[in-house]
């Protein structure tokens, strides 16, 4: 059964008197126990849709225009703020991109880890701090009892992200949403955080939505990959199937820009030319068409629906009018 099912989510932004539908109409679901990797260039609506789910979207300028997001049988978008608050940090954890700014600079690490435990698990400050020491050990920070009384500026970027992870998993969430948790980190630290999160996921049996712009990261951690562009799903399916036989030119482009070795065999190295579309000036048709060397006239006129790929791999879906394997052959 799907732990999270998003149906027809639509989010817009007002800016300088103009309005952009950044997420036009998004539908997808995540099964319990599944790790979904959402990939796309920056600006494709990955963060905005996640924030919208949790009621964290700044409104204004943002606005949720419609849709449902059913978590464990209840619509997150329809429930009162107080109930959503009970879920946030409790059954749904979230980790953000920039660990340098995500922690409060003037409160101790201990207090910041203790807060959700006090809020959701009805612990006393003392109990919560005890638990925080264990959590620090769990995320690989030694000497936790001493470090609890330290402040964020006494931690490196990688260590701060470990603290953020400790906060997010403190109440053992069923669903963990990680929004580019490794993007701001050094490459070596990225690998460590990735391994840590994979380990914690297995240990705590968390369902995970992992947002990134890096195909390589998805390959390492996700079961299912969902490629997004301009707020739409371009392709989605089991990681192996999508990597072996991408059906969207955008997925293909992202895979081609990976370093050697991670690339599917036979592909030529290419950069995706052009820039993501201006969401305030939408064009008809497939939003990727202007950058797509394989685009057909129909791509420029009409937006393709998301449909099943005829490769008999369950769950492999694509939104494209063209047949990429045939064009590549």
């Amino acid at each position: 059964m799907a732990l999270l099912a998003i149906e027809g989510l639509s989010v817009g932004f007002a800016r300088e008197g103009r309005f952009a539908r950044v997420i036009p109409d998004l539908t997808y679901s995540v099964e319990a126990g599944e790790t979904l990797g959402i990939v796309g260039e920056s600006g494709s609506g990955k963060s905005v849709h996640a924030l919208a789910l949790l009621g964290l979207l700044p409104q204004p300028p943002g606005r949720i225009l419609g849709g449902r997001a059913v978590f464990d049988g209840h619509d997150l978008l329809a429930m009162p703020e107080a109930r959503l608050r009970d879920l946030r940090g409790g059954r749904i954890g979230m980790i953000f991109q920039d660990p340098m700014t995500a922690l409060n600079p003037v409160l101790t690490i201990g207090r910041q880890i203790a807060e959700p435990l006090i809020r959701h698990k009805a612990m006393s400050m003392r109990q919560a701090l005890d638990r925080a020491t264990d959590l620090l050990a769990l995320v690989g920070i030694r000497d936790g009892a001493r470090r609890l009384s330290q402040y964020p500026h006494e931690f490196s970027g990688g260590m701060r992200q470990r603290v953020m992870i400790a906060i997010a998993i403190s109440c053992e969430p069923a669903l963990l949403i990680a929004d580019e948790p490794t993007t701001a980190l050094d490459v070596t630290v990225q690998g460590q955080i990735l391994d840590l999160m994979a380990e914690l996921r297995d240990r705590l049996r968390m369902t995970m939505v992992w947002i990134t712009h890096d195909m390589g990261v998805v390959a390492g951690i996700a079961d299912t990959i969902q490629v997004m562009y301009a707020g739409r799903i371009m392709e989605r399916g089991p990681v192996n199937a999508v990597f072996a036989s991408p059906r969207s030119a955008y997925t293909y482009g992202l895979l081609q820009s990976l370093p050697h070795g991670a690339r599917p065999p036979g592909g030529r190295l290419m950069q995706i030319p052009g820039a993501p579309p201006d969401m305030f000036a939408p064009t008809p048709g497939d939003p990727f068409a202007p950058r797509n060397p394989f685009a057909t006239p129909r791509c420029h006129r009409e937006a393709p629906p998301l449909r099943a790929v005829e490769d008999s791999v369950a769950g492999h879906m694509v939104a494209a009018w063209y047949d990429l394997p045939r064009l590549l052959a």
Binding site: L54, F96, H120
Partner: protein, 306 residues
């Protein structure tokens, strides 16, 4: 931290010395106190004798050195008007000044924080508009005018409070409100803009992502972080309240140091002027040392840097 405070203490002492020196120089430019002190028609001999008695006949640098030496020992000489040690004349007025400045500061901090928080919490609504308009008025209204207005309203028309004087807590209310208005307005505006900035910070989103209650988010993740500039502002305003209360003290016949200094200037009573300025400057320095200390307590990053 200790070394930092020590160096700030050094700065403070230099500042006090500077202020006192300026006052010494200025007061010597104001004219001859001997003429004022003696009755009209006094002979040149009598004037000379008085000047010699006061040490005013000696070279200015010698007077300065004597003065500094005395100041170090707390001896500013005899008040020309009261014929008593100048410092004790000033210190007698301190309780009145402290009561007024202290309550004005309390009014300013409490009302300013409440008003600033309201404006930030209800941003974009009529509440913010009204608070900001009042704050702007509060900063722009001349103190004497506000004081007279309050006297007319609460003392003359409604008869609720005394028009002036220094007896009992009731007589403190109007002067404290008058003097505290500027502080209230300044803190309200500063806190509002500080809070609006902090509200946009990533760590506030983290706090909300933890599911914390709105009150917790506001107190611990917004207000707590916005206090630092307010504390700095309090340090600056404290000087304003202590020294700048002259107008308020005059309007309400409040026997404070500010009014004493002005009266002493008119009477060319240099020792009292000098002692008064020195006391005010010292308190100002002490308050700012305290502010520096508080600053470190509020912001661990500053503590670490020192």
């Amino acid at each position: 931290m200790g070394r930092f405070l020590l160096s700030r203490l050094g700065d403070g002492i230099v500042a006090i010395w500077g202020v006192v020196t300026i006052v010494f120089v200025v007061s010597r430019l104001l004219g001859d106190p001997a003429i004022l002190l003696l009755p009209v028609g006094a002979t040149e001999e009598q004037l000379q004798a008085l000047r010699a008695g006061l040490g005013l006949d000696r070279p200015i640098w010698e007077q300065y050195v004597t003065f500094l030496g005395g100041a170090l020992r707390g001896d500013f000489g005899q008040s020309f008007q009261f014929m008593r040690p100048a410092l004790s004349v000033v210190l007698e007025r301190m309780p009145a000044t402290m009561a007024l400045a202290g309550s004005a500061l309390l009014v300013g901090v409490v009302l300013g924080c409440v008003a600033g928080s309201m404006a930030a919490l209800f941003r974009g609504t009529i509440v913010e508009g009204v608070v900001m308009l009042l704050a702007l008025l509060g900063q722009a209204t001349p103190v004497f005018w506000l004081g007279l207005l309050l006297i007319l309203l609460f003392a003359v028309d409604l008869g609720l409070l005394p028009t002036g004087g220094y007896d009992g807590p009731m007589s403190l209310v109007l002067p404290a409100l008058t003097l505290g208005t500027f502080t209230t307005a300044s803190i309200a505006r500063l806190l509002r803009s500080g809070m609006l900035d902090v509200m946009k910070d990533d760590h506030v989103r983290t706090a909300r992502a933890k599911g914390l209650l709105p009150g917790t988010v506001f107190l611990w993740h917004i207000a707590r972080n916005s206090l630092i500039p307010v504390v700095t502002m309090v340090g600056i305003l404290a000087g304003e309240l202590l020294g700048g209360s002259v107008v308020t003290e005059t309007v309400f016949s409040w026997p404070g140091v500010g009014r004493l200094i002005v009266q002493a200037m008119e009477a060319k009573d240099f020792p009292v002027v000098q002692a008064g300025v020195m006391v005010i400057a010292t308190i100002f320095v002490v308050i700012n040392l305290f502010v520096d200390l508080l600053y470190g307590l509020l912001d661990p990053r500053i503590r670490a840097r020192r």
